[in-house]
Symmetry: C2
Amino acid sequence: MNFGGAFERLTQQLVKLPGVGKKTAERLAFHILSIKESEARNLAQAILAVKEKLRLCSRCFNFSEQDPCPYCSDIRRDRLVICVVEEPRDLAAIERTGAHKGTYHVLHGLISPLEGVAPEDIKIKELIERIKREGVEEVIMATNPTVEGDATALYLAKLITPLKVKVTRIAQGMPMGGDLEYTDEVTVRMALEGRRVL
Amino acid sequence: MNFGGAFERLTQQLVKLPGVGKKTAERLAFHILSIKESEARNLAQAILAVKEKLRLCSRCFNFSEQDPCPYCSDIRRDRLVICVVEEPRDLAAIERTGAHKGTYHVLHGLISPLEGVAPEDIKIKELIERIKREGVEEVIMATNPTVEGDATALYLAKLITPLKVKVTRIAQGMPMGGDLEYTDEVTVRMALEGRRVL
């Protein structure tokens, strides 16, 4: 292709976005070329504004324009129950359910020896200090049910249980609408092991 | 979700991109939040630069930083053979094959009464003037094989043939690696009708 350096540079930037390959980057760049200049400026400004305005909450490390964040400053939320998640997007997923009335703690990663992420690289120290400081009653481990998510939950449970704090883990089992025939064995086994009285 | 107005505004901008739904927009916004500020600035600047630097070539209406564009100013290209495409991205697709040694003409749309696009809304007048001015020998209709693409090609053929210029249409048939069993009937019929002696 030969649309010039500016086009090349834009596709190079777009291809860094998650889920965007070379073809999608070109499609997006063509789209940006086709929209009004004011529209493109809105997009560019929104990108800059989000970096400028959003900071990490100093208490739960969620992204927020205020500090503490709206969840931490909401007096109707139970501050003695903390839901621990890997990333802000996981917090958003839990918020969509409306099932959690407590506060959060965002780790910003999971322990992963293979990828060189040690416990001190994520917000674990801050969580432990917060638990000690605030007299927390329950810590819900809501990391994803993956090898790293399980390992991080286990690691944290070993650190937190001695502090006389209840540590729980989100349930693993069949997803709603799932089909036993097409579900992997680990999930089916988890569903069996986690069965509850009806 | 409650990450604040800047986050909301960014996802609202991202959701306007083609193929980006609400979920993808949020994923992209979270990604932009997680990258370095300098990276985000590079992305925003690349968006603005592409709008600022790229113009339409005054001869073929391709996007280009120069006028005339590199294709129109390439003296090794046959200026008497024009390949007509709907959008610059189609030009890019044809360039990738290396099979076209002539120049291009980008219509920037297709005639579509349903969507209110009339012949005067796309670069048809400019094509006809160019054909008359430059003594063109062949015009290859490389619009997509859709209802609008076919109709636009036919419309142009009726305008151009009286000028004693050869008008051709790209072949329609089975795609490479295609399977007759799973190919739609129209394509199979086109493949049969367009059969060639081996």
